[in-house]
């Protein structure tokens, strides 16, 4: 069994055992110091960043104010005028597309009447057209067929009456009415 040698150095000072507060102090200048330094670095960086951001904010505020001042020059006088023109233009387009044109309808109707000089009364009110005429029965039949087969008119109705001399003359009184198709009647897009 090996004999253990103990060496005593009586000159070496014997250190006092560390108290709790000594340990806290050691901790503070050890690990905590790193945390504090990192925090200081972060706060310093953030401070400079904040200064830069504040400067940018100030410059942007100045820019906004300058732009607002420029815009005020326009908005007080010119903008209401432009808006008025814009509103008028929108309504004008609306009126244009919704207003009626009866010339093509009239042209088509008279193309179905062989003898324009005959007693033909034509009435167009809104989108309803009414025709009353005295003519030969052949012409009345032809007019009825034309109106009923035309794409311009829908819901066409016809009544032909034959009285007295009409029987001998081969004539009759015809009354027709129909609804004019909107695609033909309205002007459509500007």
């Amino acid at each position: 069994m090996a004999e253990k040698n103990y060496i005593f150095n009586l000159l070496k000072p014997i250190e006092q055992p560390l108290t709790s507060w000594d340990r806290v102090y050691e901790w503070l200048i050890g690990r905590a110091k790193i945390i504090i330094m990192v925090t200081q670095a972060v706060i310093a960086i953030t401070f400079f960043a904040k200064v830069a951001l504040d400067t940018i904010a100030k410059s942007k505020d100045d820019q906004i104010e300058e732009l607002n001042n420029q815009i005020i020059l326009y908005t007080t006088e010119r903008e209401p005028r432009y808006r008025l023109i814009q509103n008028k233009e929108v309504n004008y387009r609306n009126m244009w597309s919704s207003s009626r044109k009866v010339a093509p309808v009239l042209r088509e109707l008279y193309s179905y009447i062989p003898n324009i000089g005959t007693d033909v009364v034509i009435s167009i009110i809104g989108n309803i057209v009414s025709i009353s005429t005295d003519d030969s029965r052949a012409n009345l039949d032809s007019l009825e067929t034309a109106i009923k087969s035309s794409a311009t008119f829908s819901s066409a109705g016809a009544s032909v009456s034959i009285e007295g001399e009409d029987i001998i003359n081969g004539t009759g009184k015809g009354a027709f009415n129909a609804i004019i198709d909107e695609a033909v009647l309205l002007r459509g897009k500007f």
Binding site: A32, N91, M95, I116, V121
Partner: protein, 215 residues
């Protein structure tokens, strides 16, 4: 008393820290709490303030972009207005700010005369309260319509030509109703210069009442 209390805590802490494992846990816990406190009261407020400022600046940038865009639009509109002054004036003439019945009368009589239509009468019909029924479409309140009744005699071709002109005209005329009657053949025989048809035409025209403001 306080000294006795302090020494008691110190004694207990020393006893607790005598065990190296417990000492490690204690240091770790204190370090963690310290880091947390530093983060909560030091780093977080500083970073939050910077982020808030950054976001505010982003909003400012958006506002600047919008204002610049508006300013550009206004400048462009001003330029367009001066370039198209003639067109705008013409548009104001087509849709005037008040009822210009005199223009309408002149225009209609010119078109009627140029198409050899004999005018019997031109009358303005009051239609303020029947606007929608008359026009068949809804318009913004500043648009006001007036109704003109025209009676005359004509050839069918001339009437169609006249209608064609007003319907193609940039000033909007909306034909509300039209009735065409043939003239009695005996009357035609008596008066050779008579036109073979008479007509009754109701036409709407429009103007923009500036006194009515759209909200």
């Amino acid at each position: 008393m306080a000294t006795i209390f302090e020494s008691s805590i110190t004694k207990r802490l020393d006893q607790y820290l005598a065990n190296s494992q417990k000492k490690s846990y204690f240091v770790a816990a204190v370090t963690l709490v310290f880091t947390l406190v530093i983060f909560l009261f030091g780093i977080r407020p500083a970073i939050t303030a910077s982020i808030r400022q950054y976001n505010d600046n982003k909003e400012r940038t958006d506002v600047i972009v919008q204002l610049e865009s508006k300013l550009d639009s206004l400048k462009s509109l001003t330029e367009q207005e001066s370039l198209n002054a003639d067109v705008i004036d013409y548009f104001r003439f087509l849709l005037p700010s008040k009822d210009r019945g005199d223009y309408i009368f002149d225009e209609l009589t010119t078109y009627l005369n140029s198409n050899n239509i004999e005018i019997s009468s031109i009358q303005w019909v009051r239609n303020d309260d029947q606007f929608e029924q008359l026009s068949g479409f809804l318009l913004d309140p500043p648009v006001v319509s007036r109704l003109v009744n025209i009676q005359g005699s004509t050839e069918i071709g001339d009437l169609v030509s006249f209608l064609n002109i007003i319907e193609e005209s940039r000033r909007i005329y909306n034909v509300r109703s039209l009735q065409i009657f043939p003239v009695n053949s005996e009357t035609l025989d008596l008066f050779s210069d008579l036109k073979p048809f008479t007509f009754n035409l109701e036409v709407q025209y429009f103007y923009w009442n500036d006194e009515i403001v759209i909200k």
